[in-house]
Structure formats: structure tokens, C-alpha cells
Symmetry: C3
Subunit: 146 residues, 3 copies
């Protein structure tokens, strides 16, 4: 039987969409919410010493914290050619440079690549859901991309 497990994360991040015609071209921040869902085979095992887990939620949490949250929480994420990049480099603020606009779509793709590399054998990434605001989110689904 296939089971999916999800852990939810929050992080605070700034970005600017330099080419955007509207408020988003300004440097601004969001309280992002990220849902990471993995899928794997699970067989009920009546053995006393069986963990009864497809994957320990703790492992999933650690993996995402180390590969995403640690880097992106309280960071400024910018296109490498952003007008804000040069001026902020003069400060000691935490920065991440993208070779694309730091939109919800591109963050999802970056997170996808990082998590896929870090997952243990037998466990696959099934879904990424990233809330940029309380009422807006982007998703990557394994079933859309097979």
C-alpha cells in the first residue's frame, strides 16, 4: 500500500521581482508556508519491534530544515542582476542569488531539486505546496510530471 507523509514548515523571506509592473518590484517579504509530501510503500507489520512507519516524520523534518529552511529563512532572494543585489551586498544581510526571478514557481523548482537529491532510497517526492501569502500558493505534483 502506498502512503504519503507531509511535514509543514514556515519561513520568513524577502524578495523583489525586478521586472514586475506593480508592487512586487519593490523589496518586500512574505511569511512562506511550505508543505513537503513524500510517497512510499508501506506494509503493516505486526512485529513488536517494527517501527510502523513508512518514514519517521522527524527524518523528513530534518531533511527539509537542513536543505531548505536553514538557507531560505530570513534571507533576501534576488535575481543575480537585480538592482537591489549590488546595494545589499554592501551590508551583511543573508542573500541568495537566483539566475531567474524569485517567484513562487521558481522557488518551488529550486526546492524540488534540493529535496529530490536528499531523500532516502525508497521514498519519492510526491508534492510541494508553497504559500506565498495566506490566499496564494503554487504546487508541484508528481502525478502532473511523470
Amino acid at each position: 500500500m502506498k502512503i504519503r507523509l507531509t511535514k509543514e514548515f514556515e519561513f520568513e523571506m524577502s524578495h523583489a521581482l525586478d521586472e514586475y509592473q506593480g508592487l512586487c518590484r519593490n523589496l518586500h517579504g512574505h511569511s512562506y508556508k511550505l508543505f513537503v509530501t513524500v510517497i512510499g510503500d508501506y506494509i503493516k507489520n505486526p512485529q513488536e519491534n517494527s517501527s510502523g512507519m513508512m518514514l519517521d516524520f522527524k527524518c523528513l523534518k530534518k531533511l527539509v530544515e537542513e536543505n531548505i529552511i536553514l538557507d531560505f529563512d530570513h534571507a533576501v532572494v534576488l535575481h543575480k542582476n537585480s538592482v537591489f543585489a549590488n546595494v545589499l551586498k554592501q551590508t551583511d544581510t543573508k542573500m541568495i542569488m537566483f539566475d531567474c526571478q524569485p517567484t513562487c514557481e521558481n522557488l518551488i523548482m529550486e526546492f524540488h531539486d534540493r529535496i529530490v537529491k536528499a531523500l532516502p532510497e525508497g521514498v519519492k517526492l510526491a508534492k510541494l505546496k508553497l504559500y506565498e501569502t495566506k490566499t496564494s500558493f503554487a504546487e508541484w505534483l508528481i502525478e502532473d510530471n511523470e
Copy 2:
């Protein structure tokens, strides 16, 4: 790569289910929550002037507000033969007449038809999720209906 984008909406609506054996045959209201999810192709583009968006959340918001929220927010929705229809017509309250019972299922189908017509080329409706109460919702999924 396929990406999904979702916007969440709230609206206040009254209805009555005339034939229902229970409380719902009374004229009553709900705080509805609607999640509209679209799907489209997305390619990461390192060009500085690329928007980095599959679709601007703002466009999705505007489209749903104009085609659904504007009409249904603070409206009374009734079967055209409802006993409440005739008496309420004597007032100046905002009313929408259905040729079916205004259940969660039928609202979803009405919203489906309205949104599908309004979406830009290259973007498809992937999912509609409509909360009638805090613990009850109906869904239409593209993968169930292809």
C-alpha cells in the same frame, strides 16, 4: 514542468434546499471558502525580463472575482421554484435563480462552467474546492473528469 497555482476566496451566501428533510430547507447562510486551482506548463527562464510566472496570481484573483465573487457574495441563491423565491422577489435583495438545488455540488458545477470560459489560453482549471462549513467541502478535480 507542470505547475499548479491556487487562489483562495471567501464569500457570504444564503440558500435554502426546499426539498430537504431537515434544517437545510430553511433559508440560511454560510461563509463559503472557494479554492480555485489552475494548471499550466512552466519553464524556468533565466532572462532578466522573464516574469518567472506561469500565471500572475493577480490575474487569477481578478478572473474569479469578476466571474464568481461579484455575483455570489451576499446573494440569496435558490431553486427557481423555491417557496422563498416569490416572497423575496418583493424585496430588493440580491438573488440568483438556479434550475437545480443550490447545494455545494451544484455551486461547484456552476463555478466550473464560469471559470473554464474565462481562463486564458494555455491555462486549465485543475481543481475547485468549496467549503460550505468549516468541516465540509466539495471538490471537482480534473484528474477525476478526463
Copy 3:
């Protein structure tokens, strides 16, 4: 057209994972949240006396309350060989014995079996989502298991 309907439930439950290397081997509790989603065919029917429902939310609620919530709410769920089982049997607390560890994965499988047996004809279980904590949940999906 296929429509999905979901009802959300909460219940308070204690468990212990005897073989777990960490805090979860202790007897402890969670505020579980369970989302039960069913799928069925729905045809819009303009007849006045049509219910306009694929399944009454009330029926789904009753079915899950009777088959799951009634048993699991305020219960202690343990592996039948748990060290806590023998001592707690000396009290009159509500207990459920599993032949496997009472993890999120095994609870989902138990709930799956109970609901599938109880559903009316024409309605299938589509999804089970069980939150163990505010940021951790397990899921069983029909599309993963067909």
C-alpha cells in the same frame, strides 16, 4: 461528472510507540484531525424534488462518527504487547489494542478498512488525511492504490 466530498473530524487520543528510540516511546497524546473524502458520480438534476447531492454531508459525518470517532476519541491505543497495556488494564480507561504500532500509518490503514466496509453503494473512499500534530500528516489516496 465525478465529485468528491470531504468531512473533517477531530479526536483526542493517546498512544505509545514502544520500540521507538525517542520521546514517542512514552505514553502521550495528540489532537488528531481526520479528513475523510469520498468520490461518486454526480449528475445535475433540474427536478424540483432532486436533492442536488452526491451524498448528504450528514450521512458521511454519521458514518465516520459511528465507525471511528466513537471508538478512538479519548482512547489509549497500544500495541497488544506494549508495556503500558498490562498496567493500564488495571484501570477502567478506554483502550484499543493493535497488533502493530499505533502510528499515523497504521491508524490510517485501520480507518481505511472500517470506512470502506461502511460506505453506501456507488460511493468510494477517495482519500484519508490524518494529522497527528499541527504540522505532520499521513495520507492514503485512491489514485496511489488502484
